[in-house]
């Protein structure tokens, strides 16, 4: 379609197809006031009518004299006022944005808003960034309000809502909040509801207290102080805070945000446009900021006794020296969380070099590395970009609930579904329902644990006979269907959609750790018939710098110790010292492995938060700064390096990891140069696509009688790293961890919602309160990760994510 040429205030402009008058004006820098419009929505609301313009159709010759005279006012007959945010321009028309009549009409609208608006800007948190204040200033409204405070409608202030404070008295009914919750979040938690007093108020559709994703979007977009964050309420005025542009380090999406800081304290988190996350943030990004103040480790310690930092650093050096002298450098292992900054990871590697060991373990990055190895062999290794998701025909997600894992991807997909032209297709292979099911995707419900069979089925559908060339022992489709329990019809549709064009594959990294999954996914992608450049792989994890870990490991392949190797070395007594960069090693390694650490001579931990405890013969704890307290870098899911800016000064004796490693290096008589993380990493492209060989072996899962249920670890959007458990926002949204079972199972075991239950496995047990869901198979117990009060890893006895458990009522003597 051709561009549409027309005039705004006498300026010739041209609109792209589909653009509204307001969007064109914005692009040309012509100002039209707008309140309910936002670039963050997929379509305009058209509620406030502040953006009204008049449209004039002049005959050709009139126009010439008109323009030559340079007289930018309407002369002919104009249309009645139309909202510019909704109207699409017509070719050859003249749009006038600022006639006297329009100015007056706008002022009238603002006066209507003002009429019952309480005069409480003095205490309103929005003051200073309030669009109603701005509108009053802009239209110079100083009199004629006819405010009638005696007959104020009695509206309900929702103080009982968690996190969001809703004061409808301040609301101008622009419906931005309703729109963003539906359009961007796909939640529909808010609505304009008719009330007894005869007017409308923003409320939940059924009037119950808000129970939603607590994501900050509505608070952020509300033009007035009607919706405000309770965590920020009355803490500071908008103009007093410094806005520090930074990136979120709570999940690998790495959303852009602004930390609002006053007096060395983060008081709130906002965001801005344009940004790749469209100004959206999730609960963690927006409300977990005070994790920086809670449960921090404030002093270095040796065997739980507080010590001077320098002593502990000296001790670390001496102990390491003793151990390496006695047992050799290979007896030291370095374990890293994947949610620490790239600087911390490089420091860990430098420390490994100083010691002379190559034993580096990133337990959480094992899946992603397996995938990379498979993709490299298959010729598919590439770094996809977020744009690729927006443009891909088909998204295939397996074993992952995107809403709870990477909210950003959830928003992308919801936004895509709203688009008229690029809707794309969505295939969700998961064992239970998810929020995205609302978009009517192709659902492949399979029995957990049968992912390989599911992939084989799809591959077979796509590659046909050829499958036999690279898959050995391929069972009959019927057998596979029986094992997976998947619906044959959906399978057919799914296969058809995977073939239809550009493909994005999203897969959980826990799933990738299982043998064969990575290879089969590569085969599936090749079987889809796409070019390598049209295929994007998205390993899904909650660990914010998983991509940083991936890069470090791909760059230093000989530093890669895997979990199996680590377990074996530990069991054989080869390891005598472990240095851990992260908060809690018992959350990244299964319980039996962690219990072996008790036998080793030295355990050094570089941690930010007080959580869990690992006992070796000698324990050193060194407190380190969080990413709020130092300039550090992370790598987001699309492979872009971004900076988490220092926004507050750490307490005395809390240093960034790299400064501490520098001090240790000094003991080794080495001067450590400052770490510079560069963004120069590229994957080697390969032209040739190869199917990867795979040999099918049915997995006999023994279900010991005393452990009849399968244990599944899920992500929660209200937690990522355990340290997020200490943020107020996530804590309000989800106070504690839980164990989820199906309603059928609950009935059979005579358990009720919120009962305290004990989950027992071969290697451990933990307590949690019970959550009952209708969409789960009966043989599952689902436990979320990241909650400080429940640690699913303590239930696992090996590295293969396959564990069976039993449950019983806690305190009962069953």
């Amino acid at each position: 379609m051709a561009d549409i040429n027309f005039f705004i205030d006498g300026v010739p402009v041209s609109a792209k197809p589909g653009e509204t008058i307001l969007q064109v004006a914005n692009r040309y820098g012509i100002y039209i006031p707008a309140i309910c419009y936002s670039d963050r929505f997929s379509s305009p609301i058209g509620a406030c009518r502040i953006c009204i313009v008049v449209i004039e159709q002049l005959p050709e010759e009139d126009l010439r004299t008109h323009l030559e005279a340079h007289h930018p006012v309407a002369t002919g007959k104009c249309s009645r006022p139309m909202p510019a945010c909704v109207m699409k321009p017509k070719a050859g028309t003249y749009v006038w944005t600022n006639t006297d009549a329009l100015k007056q009409a706008r002022a009238e609208i603002v006066k209507k808003w003002d009429r019952y608006h309480p005069l409480q800007c003095g205490v309103c948190d929005a003051s200073g960034e309030c669009e109603l204040q701005n509108a009053n200033l802009e239209f110079n409204i100083t009199s004629g309000l006819e405010q009638d405070f005696d007959n104020l409608p009695q509206k309900t202030i929702h103080k009982e809502w968690p996190i969001v404070n809703n004061d409808p008295h301040l609301c101008i009914q622009c419906k931005r909040c309703v729109k963003i919750c539906d359009d961007v979040m796909g939640v529909k938690a808010l609505a304009l509801v008719k009330k007894e007093w005869g007017g409308f108020e923003i409320d939940t559709p059924d009037g119950s207290p808000l129970d939603c994703e607590f994501c900050n979007q509505c608070i952020d977009i509300c033009p007035t102080g009607s919706l405000e964050s309770k965590l920020f309420m009355y803490k500071a005025k908008s103009w007093e805070m410094e806005h520090i542009v930074s990136g979120c380090f709570f999940c690998p999406a790495g959303c852009e945000l602004e930390l609002n800081v006053k007096d060395n304290k983060i008081l709130r988190v906002t965001s801005h446009l344009p940004s790749f996350n469209d100004g959206n943030l999730c609960n963690l990004g927006a409300f977990a900021y005070d994790m920086n103040e809670n449960n921090r480790i404030t002093a270095a310690s040796i065997n739980d006794k507080e010590e001077d930092l320098n002593n502990v650093i000296g001790q670390t050096y001496e102990d390491l020296k003793k151990i390496t002298d006695k047992y050799g450098t290979d007896s030291v292992a370095i374990v890293c969380d994947s949610s620490i900054s790239s600087e911390a990871m490089v420091s860990a590697k430098r420390l490994a070099d100083l010691i002379g060991t190559k034993n580096m373990l990133f337990p959480e990055a094992e899946g992603i590395i397996k995938l990379d190895m498979a993709l490299e062999k298959a010729g598919l290794l590439r770094q996809p970009s977020y744009d690729q998701i927006k443009n891909s025909e088909t998204i295939f997600a397996i074993g992952t609930d995107l809403t709870n894992s990477i909210p950003l991807l959830d928003w992308f997909i919801i936004r895509k579904s709203k688009s008229k032209t690029k809707k794309g297709k969505l295939i969700l292979a998961h064992y239970r329902e998810s929020k995205l099911d609302k978009l009517k995707p192709v659902k492949l419900r399979y029995n957990p644990g049968s992912e390989r069979e599911l992939l084989l089925l799809l591959i077979q559908k796509l590659a046909g006979q050829k499958t036999l060339e690279f898959v050995k022992n391929l069972p009959e489709p019927d057998t596979l269907i029986k094992i997976t329990g998947v619906d044959a019809e959906s399978l057919e549709t799914a296969a058809g959609q995977i073939k239809s064009g550009k493909l994005s594959v999203m897969v959980d990294t826990m799933l990738l750790e299982k043998s064969g999954i990575a290879e089969l996914l590569a085969d599936l992608a090749i079987a889809s018939g796409n070019q390598a450049s049209a295929i994007g792989f998205w390993p899904i994890s909650r660990k914010s710098n998983i991509k940083g870990a991936e890069r470090l490991l791909l760059d230093n392949r000989d530093y890669c110790l895997d979990k199996a190797g680590f377990t074996q070395r530990l069991a054989e007594g080869d390891l005598h010292a472990i240095i851990h960069f992260g908060n809690s090693i018992e959350r990244i390694l299964p319980a039996p492995i962690v219990s072996k650490i008790a036998d080793i001579d030295l355990f050094v931990k570089f941690a930010t938060h007080e959580i869990g405890k690992t006992e070796a013969k000698k324990n050193l704890v060194i407190p380190v700064a969080t990413a709020y307290e130092e300039d550090s870098h992370y790598i987001n899911l699309e492979g872009k390096l971004f900076k988490a800016k220092k926004s507050i000064e750490p307490k005395k004796d809390i240093l960034p990891v790299q400064s501490i490693v520098k001090l240790i290096a000094e003991k080794f008589n080495t001067i450590m140069s400052p770490i510079k993380i560069k963004n120069d990493f590229t994957f080697k492209d390969s032209a040739q696509l190869n199917y990867l060989e795979y040999e099918y072996k049915p997995i006999e899962e023994i279900e010991p009688k005393q452990y009849p249920y399968r244990l599944i670890v899920e992500h929660s959007r209200f937690r990522s790293d355990v340290s997020t458990s200490f943020g107020s926002g996530p804590k309000i949204a989800r106070a504690a961890g839980y164990a989820e079972i199906s309603s059928g199972l609950a009935e059979a075991l005579d358990l009720k919602s919120d009962d305290k239950i004990k989950i027992v496995s071969k290697s451990g047990q933990c307590e949690a309160s019970l959550l009952i869901s209708n969409d789960l198979p009966d043989n599952l117990v689902v436990v979320p990760d990241g909650f400080s009060d429940i640690n699913p890893m303590s239930l696992f006895s090996s590295n293969d994510w396959c564990e069976h458990v039993n449950i019983e009522k806690a305190g009962g003597n069953q």
Binding site: C121, V123, Y234, K235
Partner: protein
């Protein structure tokens, strides 16, 4: 004339000896400052004793030398008040903008309490407690 300049000078001096003195013997003698003069600040309260300041932040904002600092608290009834209120009277320029801008008539300036000189600059940083005390009669 001899010593013309000296005599001229002395004449002026002697002239002053017989005039009424312009200065006063402070602190034995004190002047009454003009009614609209601006001296020490104080904070207003409601009849029930509740502080009037709602921490709208306007005085902090308008103050040219930026010597006002307020830290808000949320009261039990959900309203906002100044939890801490601090003015550095040593750096204040006594322009009275804060008084003028305050929508709640919460910050006022005494027209007579000018005696707060001190040897220590730190002591000139007045806190809420001392600002609430020592109100003059305008506030009664």
């Amino acid at each position: 004339m001899l010593f013309k300049d000296l005599r001229k000078g002395l004449a002026v001096t002697i002239g002053y000896l017989f005039r009424r003195p312009v200065t006063v013997q402070y602190p034995d003698e004190k002047l009454i400052p003009p009614v609209r003069s601006r001296w020490r600040h104080y904070l207003g309260v409601f009849p029930d004793g509740k502080i009037r300041c709602i921490d709208c932040g306007l005085c902090e904002r308008v103050c040219p030398p930026k010597v006002i600092k307020i830290i808000p608290v949320i009261n039990e009834d959900g309203t906002k008040s100044a939890g801490k209120y601090e003015i550095d009277l040593g750096r204040c320029m006594y322009c009275g903008f804060c008084v003028e801008v305050c929508p709640e008539l919460a910050i006022l300036m005494s027209s007579e309490d000018y005696e707060f000189a001190n040897y220590d600059r730190d002591k000139l940083v007045y806190q809420k407690e001392s600002l609430l005390k020592g109100r003059n009669k305008d506030n009664e």
